[in-house]
């Protein structure tokens, strides 16, 4: 029997089914904890984020918009934005705070990440796509994604002109999208 799709779990969570939340936690808890730990570098704080994310899922499952993205992407965005918030408040007081655009409702493409590919395959293809990026693009993206640095801060950190940073971020993300897109549609067709 194939495992229950993520979306079905979210629908059950919306109906206050705690078993479904447990199942979702078992599926993605380690992945989300890994992301929060990478950003925060502190296991205790990462686990607080994980707790917040699952409480958020429990209370706000109805805010998940399946037409706009996968459950995993929704969870990753929720985890990343909470982790980055904590990271930024740690660095509070520095000038030029960023606009919280990542707080926007998750608007991933409708490609169904977990529907077509098992979590591990998805992870493997993402890793491959990341490793195929030119070093300077990968570095710029990682500084933004994991360290929450703003464009100006990335420019300072990498001693690169701001214009170049912007171009690297755009090219890097577009390349990631291109690498991942064919797998996504393939996975979807196969399902």
């Amino acid at each position: 029997m194939s495992p229950e799709p993520d979306r079905a779990l979210v629908a059950r969570i919306e109906r206050r089914d705690a078993d479904a939340l447990r199942e979702l936690y078992d599926r993605y808890g380690a992945r989300l904890n890994g992301l929060a730990s990478r950003i925060l570098g502190d296991t205790g704080e990462a686990e607080e984020v994980l707790q917040e994310v699952f409480l958020y899922v429990w209370r706000a499952a109805s805010s998940f918009d399946g037409s706009r993205g996968s459950v995993l992407a929704w969870l990753l965005v929720a985890t990343r934005s909470r982790s980055i918030d904590r990271l930024r408040s740690r660095r509070a007081g520095r000038p030029g705070s960023t606009r919280p655009l990542e707080d926007a409702p998750e608007a991933a493409s409708s490609d169904d990440v977990e529907g077509g590919l098992a979590g591990r395959e998805w992870e493997a293809l993402c890793r491959k796509a990341i490793s195929e990026l030119p070093e300077d693009q990968r570095r710029a993206l990682e500084l933004a994604y994991f360290e929450g640095l703003t464009q100006q801060e990335i420019a300072e950190r990498t001693r690169t002109p701001l214009g170049t940073v912007k171009t690297r971020v755009r090219l890097g993300l577009m390349k990631l999208r291109e690498r991942i897109r064919p797998y996504l549609s393939e996975g979807r067709d196969a399902s």
Binding site: G34, Q51, L55, T98, F146, Q152, V169, L173, M174, R177
Partner: protein, 262 residues
């Protein structure tokens, strides 16, 4: 401004949430003017950015965390083990009774300590829950604002200062589909504490109350209207000064009014 490659660059930065300063303002204004292409790029690239998470290895959380999360889903009534007094000891059982009361004494002390700890945890948990609720409310409000600003049918109306406050300026971003508006105002005077500004939406020539707001110390306000599904088609917007809490029909002086849509 029409869509161009500069905005595509900003869209990539926005997808990662690293836009700032003038770029952030200019991109927000561009989205507010309505650019489905940029919205699509942000959405697409945000999905692509989730792929970066795969660069972080999965880390199994502490084993007990799952149970803690599941336990925190519902407030459970704390269970206190009742301490039963033994039936009165009789005869030869005096030794056992004495031993039992000694044990009970320890249980009693332990129980008091546990109760204090539990109460401290409950207080902490209540404080955390209220912080969480506040944060969730804040997030929901931001999401709502973005929903209006990013909706495809968003219109911008400029409101100019009237009567007592000719220097006041405001913009309303209105989504007919969402039946909500976001007001951005500046140069407004601060009001006495019993007064508030009230926003009005004109529908079929009649003003409909759209909520009250205050200004900051510099006379600025950012205000999201509530759901105004009663509106059939917003024709114009105005702001008046009203008693705190607002009124159902405008009674005070008009300070801002927009140019009606054609």
């Amino acid at each position: 401004m029409r869509h161009n490659e500069t905005y595509e660059e900003l869209a990539a930065l926005a997808a990662l949430g690293v836009l700032e300063g003038e770029d952030a303002r200019s991109f927000e204004a561009h989205l507010a003017e309505g650019c489905p292409r940029c919205e699509e790029i942000v959405a697409d690239l945000r999905a692509a950015s989730s792929a970066l998470a795969a660069g972080a290895p999965a880390v199994a959380p502490r084993a007990s965390l799952r149970a803690e999360i599941l336990a925190s889903l519902e407030e459970r009534a704390p269970r206190v083990a009742p301490i039963r007094r033994p039936s009165s000891p009789a005869g030869l059982a005096w030794f056992l009774a004495a031993a039992a009361s000694l044990v009970l004494l320890f249980i009693g002390l332990d129980d008091a300590r546990l109760r204090r700890e539990r109460e401290a945890l409950e207080r902490r948990s209540a404080a955390l829950a209220s912080r969480l609720t506040a944060a969730e409310r804040d997030l929901a409000r931001k999401e709502l604002r973005v929903k209006v600003l990013e909706s495809e049918d968003v219109r911008i109306l400029f409101l100019s200062g009237q009567g007592p406050q000719p220097q006041a300026r405001a913009k309303v971003f209105w989504s007919e589909k969402a039946k909500r508006g976001v007001l951005l105002a500046g140069n407004l005077q601060s009001l006495p504490s019993d007064k508030q500004y009230e926003l009005w939406v004109f529908d079929k020539g009649k003003p409909v109350a759209a909520g009250v707001f205050d200004v900051d110390t510099e006379g600025r306000a950012l205000f999201e209207s509530p759901d105004l599904s009663v509106i059939t088609a917003a024709q114009n917007f105005a702001v008046t000064i009203e008693p705190r809490g607002g009124v159902a029909a405008p009674s005070g002086p008009i300070v801002l009014v927009g140019t009606p849509a054609a």
